[in-house]
Amino acid sequence: MAGSLGIKVARIVIVVAVFAAWELLSRTGMVNPRLLPSASDTLATLWELLQRSSVRNDLAVTASEVLIAFILAVPVGAVIGFAIAENRYFAEVAKPLLFFAFSIPKSIFLPMFILVFGVGFSQKVGFGFFSTIFIVIMSTTTAVESVKVDHLTVARSYGATPLQTAWRVYLPSMLPVLLEALRISMIFNLTGVILAEMYASRDGIGHQIATWGENFQMKQLLAGVVMIAAIAMTFNELVRSVETRCSHWRT
Amino acid sequence: MQPLANITPLKPAPRAGAIKVGNVGQVFKTSTQDVVALSDISLEVKPGRFVVLVGPSGCGKSTLLMMMAGLRQQTSGTILINDAPIPEPDPNRVGVVFQEASLFPWLTAEENVEFPLALRGVAKAERRAKAEDALKLVGLEGFGKRHPHELSGGMKQRVSIARGLVQDPPVLLMDEPFAALDEQTRMTMGDELLRIWAATGKTVVFVTHSLTEAVYLADEVIVMSARPGRIVDQLTIPLPRPRTYEMLSGDTFGTLRDRIWRHIRKSA
């Protein structure tokens, strides 16, 4: 891996170049600084925002909504996914319906959540759950299907008990896929909760971003965008690094 | 069967080519070191001969074949096809058949065979006639309208051979063409290839892993060693033609096969 260091450096250069171009465009006045505050100003604003207790409170609200929706959606979706993957007939019936449910825009049902739950915590959690569950079901079925029949046959022929099969064949085969599923479910979940907050809410970071936008507070708005992007990407990379560690046996 | 007349109505005699390889070397440059893939390869293939290249994996036999096809250039030495170098692919002199069918999946069998003619802008009717002749030659009459995914592995390779022959090149190069086929199909295809070869009289250079296939098909077997690839032995196969299945169990066959195997075991 002689070139990997060079690639890393090149990536850092690209990121730095983007920020530099952003800074330059704004500083030289090529773009109206009121529409595009400079990168340094935005980062300074971000630092200042993180000191504010109201912003921290918003982040905490969003984080708890995301977590609760996630904790509810993953087991429920996983159980349904297993049931579908293990039963051939059920799978044939349910899969096209699921794919359809998956392909339609969930956001149009957001008003329904508001009509049923009102505007509040449970509405966000409900919508977060709704936007996550389908991807959890689908990834679980993919994970179960990624277990090779050959491996199961080998385990059976050597007299493995069901528990041993689950522990020694299913789990190691599924682990990389499951991690991937967790990562993607989290992306869906976060998007769902933030959209719900932007649409109708009294608190949460998504609500805050929408408000900044309505009031033309570009510094705060961009700082908020950078903040959420950084959080999402950090989480993503964390799970990915675990994935690569677990994936060395995956073919 | 007299398919040759159908393919080249204007040329009564089979057109076969001569190949001369002189002191050819190939060096791959990587970031850390230079790897010598082929070293000082010299060989001569007389017109109309069936020559098989064998050797352990990574001995550069496919690389050598790609250089004869003009798909790759040697670092040193010369390669002459009919007394002229081949700096780039020249379908009028060399046809190539690849490992697994490299047929275009969106074209029918006959469109695949017509493909090299279409590249030259040959008129539709002439193209179609030549393709039909070539398909008939490889025993696929009536299958022209099928797409590759509707054909078996052996049939796909027949289409590939037809495509290699459709421009009537004097030399046919084959890079492990039957490697992906099962044993039975492989044997049948070997016989088929010998029949086509006898009918067209082409010069054939054939790369394979299979020692049995090598001895069964060849006039001459060239054995190569692993990196750096060199020629370690050249055997003339004295078995009479047509080759038959019974020869496989004969003493001559066994002795020749053993001799090749000893070379390969030594260098692997």
């Binding site: 998007t191 769902g192 933030i194 971003i209 936008g213 | 999946p105 797409h147």
Partner: protein, 266 residues
């Protein structure tokens, strides 16, 4: 009972329940108005919905050109050149994790609340996955096919027109499918958030006055759009089915979209 029959029964009974449950008062009409009253509400305001649909379709069409055209082009470039691929692909899939919806307020500040901001947002929303799908697909083109064409003396442009482009068709289709669905989502979501026209706007406006029937009429219209788009793509895929079965890329596209290639379609 065959699985298809059971599936049809499930769909039919869901539709029936939609009618019966609200009528019987088991679900408040505010939460879920009955199907017939929803359809009636939509029919009574057909002009308004028709106008909104025209606005939305216009935005979808323009965004589709940017997202799919740009995504397929960029994906083809990144996918066929190893340098940019190794450099950029991991960065792009990392960007993928960002909930892009937070960018919409930025666009409204820059471009106003008219169609421009929706088109900008939906184009970006559809661009990344289309590009990723195309780049991944271009890499699955069998290099042997290009080599074979070269051995037959094909020139560079002949290789492009006769080999690479036909071989890339399944990929382009799967890119269109992913990107197009997201463009619809992007337009409707942005209309729902801040705007003054389009179906998303209608849904939001009727929601604020708690007029459920008209909200659901809008929802039905978006569903119909999504279904029509899916059907159109399926039709094209069937037309190009020769490509689908033949190549490795085709086999992948023929299965449903791989889970990893999906943007949060909220």
């Amino acid at each position: 009972m065959s699985s298809t029959t059971l599936r049809r029964l499930i769909v039919i009974s869901l539709i029936l329940l939609w009618e019966v449950l609200p009528r019987a008062g088991l679900i408040p009409e505010l939460f879920l108005p009955s199907l017939s009253s929803t359809l009636a509400a939509g029919w009574n305001e057909a002009g308004e919905y028709g106008h909104a649909l025209a606005v939305t379709l216009y935005e979808v069409a323009i965004s589709m050109v940017f997202a799919c055209g740009g995504g397929i082009l960029a994906g083809a470039i990144v996918g066929s050149l190893p340098g940019p691929r190794i450099l950029i692909m991991p960065m792009i899939s990392s960007l993928y994790a960002v909930p892009l919806v937070i960018l919409y307020p930025v666009f409204t500040v820059w471009l106003g609340i008219g169609s421009e901001s929706k088109i900008a947002f939906a184009s970006i929303y559809g661009f990344l996955p289309t590009m990723l799908a195309t780049a991944a697909g271009i890499q699955t083109i069998d290099p042997q096919l290009v080599l074979a064409a070269r051995s037959m003396g094909a020139t560079l442009s002949q290789r492009l027109i006769r080999v690479i482009i036909p071989a890339a068709i399944p990929t382009v289709l799967s890119g269109l499918r992913v990107g197009g669905a997201l463009v619809i989502v992007g337009v409707v979501v942005s209309e729902m958030l801040i705007s003054s026209a389009g179906i998303g706007y209608l849904i939001s406006r009727y929601r604020t006055i708690l007029d459920s029937q008209h909200v659901f009429a809008g929802v039905l219209l978006v569903l119909a759009m999504a279904i029509a788009f899916n059907a159109a793509i399926k039709w094209i895929e069937r037309k190009a089915s020769i490509w689908q079965t033949g190549t490795r890329a085709g086999q992948r596209a023929a299965e449903d979209i791989p889970v990893t290639a999906i943007q949060p379609a909220t």
